[in-house]
């Protein structure tokens, strides 16, 4: 059996899952089992939402990517995979990017659409934003400046005693070619095409991966606007709307009946002891270096010492 840790979950599999972080744990009742098998044609219980590739209710989810694989996720503790392709990398790719998030939803935990780096004081600064907002690129430019990666694309945020803590997803950063040309931290061996014919590349950071929860000192909401990089502090009340927008796969919230969970999670984060910022940059990739500089000067030097 192979054992891994991702998004705060203990994952056990009968086959190797190279994109996840290997992590040993004793037998217990809180393990997510990943197996190969035949995915049923439909859900056992009432279907709440049907989409082209997804059929789901609160406790069951069938994800069917044509010519790639079918996935049946149940009760937040079991993932059944039926490959439809010989390309195992592609089959596992959807496990990382969508299926694990589904398991979290079933466990009543909402993942957020964020990347992040570790600051010198061992806290995490997260970057939130829509697809292509530049979360990964911002993280990589800060890694060029000496910061360690924490997570890419998703993280779990949980509040305890008024402090917000983040748990990382898995040790792969997905980035566009232009960003890779500017990165100075990873060797060619650590970079692979993420999916055959896809646009993005994957940077493996297994050696730097931190599976432990770390406190979050700030969340920076990224957007493209204006002619220059601008950083501004943001009130927690204003951050609520943006936090809601940055729930990962937020389109599932209604179909999986997670509206109350969403409200509770976002309220707790907004009220916790962390700071919110907006960072605007001109719409051009060359602005990421100056964005990273501005984040370091105006945010990290303030909260990350």
């Amino acid at each position: 059996m192979f054992k891994y840790f991702a998004l705060g979950m203990q994952i056990q599999s009968e086959f190797e899952i190279p994109g996840l972080f290997p992590f040993d744990f004793p037998e217990n009742d809180d393990i997510v089992m990943v197996e190969f098998g035949t995915v049923p044609d439909t859900l056992q219980n009432e279907i709440l939402e049907v989409k082209p590739f997804s059929t789901f209710n609160e406790r069951e989810f069938i994800f069917h990517i044509p010519e790639a694989a079918k996935y049946y996720i149940t009760d937040g503790n079991r993932v059944l995979i039926e490959p439809l392709s010989d390309n195992l990398d592609e089959v596992l790719f959807y496990l990382y990017t969508g299926v694990l998030a589904t398991v979290l939803y079933q466990k009543n935990i909402l993942p957020f659409h964020v990347s992040g780096v570790v600051l010198k004081n061992n806290t995490v600064l997260l970057f939130a934003g829509h697809q292509r907002a530049g979360k990964s690129s911002t993280s990589i430019m800060l890694q060029n400046r000496g910061y360690l990666p924490f997570t890419d694309d998703t993280a779990v945020l949980q509040v305890s005693n008024g402090h917000c803590y983040a748990t990382s997803s898995y040790p792969i950063i997905r980035a566009m070619e232009r960003t890779l040309e500017k990165q100075m931290v990873y060797s060619e061996e650590e970079i692979t095409p993420k999916i055959k014919e896809g646009f993005k590349f994957g940077i493996n950071f297994h050696k730097k991966f931190i599976p432990e929860q770390l406190p979050v000192s700030g969340i920076v909401f990224l957007s493209e606007d204006g002619d220059e990089v601008t950083i501004s502090p943001m009130k927690a009340a204003d951050a609520i709307k943006l936090l809601k927008f940055n729930v990962y796969r937020k389109q599932w919230v209604h179909g999986m009946k997670k509206e109350l969970l969403e409200f509770q999670t976002i309220s707790q984060i907004a009220q916790s002891k962390l700071q919110f910022f907006t960072a605007k940059r001109p719409w051009e990739t060359d602005s990421f270096e100056s964005l990273a500089q501005a984040i370091e000067d105006q945010i990290i030097h303030q909260i990350g010492k």
């Binding site: 082209p52 994800f63 044509p66 592609e90 292509r132 232009r178 055959k196 896809g198 389109q251 001109p282």
Partner: protein, 283 residues
Amino acid sequence: MENKKNIVWLASYPKSGNTWFRSFISALRNKGEVDINAISTEGIFSQKRGLEEYLDLDADEIPVSKMDHFKRISFNHQSNTAVEKCFVKIHDLYSISKIDHQPIVPEESTFAAIYFVRNPLDVSISMANHDGKTLDESISKVICNEQVHLVRFGKHAHDQFQQYLGSWNMHVESWKKVTAFPVFFVRYEDLKNNPQDTFTRVLKQIEYEATEEEIRSAIEATEFEKLKSQEAEFGFREKPKACKSFFNKGEVGQWKVQLNQEQTSLIKQFNEPMMREFGYWED
């Protein structure tokens, strides 16, 4: 399952009245009110975000070999779940996918297309403003360029998929050849010069019910100067960075004072058949 035919494609070469018509539909649906930053039509064919929400995938991670197939699946779903007609903007030249050899749009969920056609001599001027290009660049690199694409495949991510545009003539001709669903052609110049009759005719063609008064009110709400003043006051989120003002002049016949003989001749040389077809040759 049989697909519902709810999609009405709002097809055009860029700068030919597409945004104006989307604003008009928005005003029709909102009792004569329109906010250019909240146009209530149903998206853009090339936009990645809709596909990502419908298919639960990241568009930049879909293998190229599946891209066009997945786009059709996404729009079929949009059509099947819609409660009324979906108006979807499209700037792509109508073609057969080079990837999977099917039509680029899902014909099985298409009700019709409205094609907005505008004199390419005027389009070249609007496009130069829109793209921050010179007139000569707009003419040689776009209007007369058979290979031109909007959003080229690049090393960084775009919010839109690449769109094959081709020359103005190729673009109009491609939509003229469609036989799988009705394509209703409407000239920008007719919308400008005779809006009540022209908008009424188009709505009738696509079986969209609206009273004469509702149409009049929507036309008034979307007068060019009103849209332009909204942009001046609040900005326009669809405006490209290179463009100072999306709603520039919108006039008919600007080319007579802005294009020189050489520029006019070049456009005519490359675009003769469809210019003749739509009455722009003798202007």
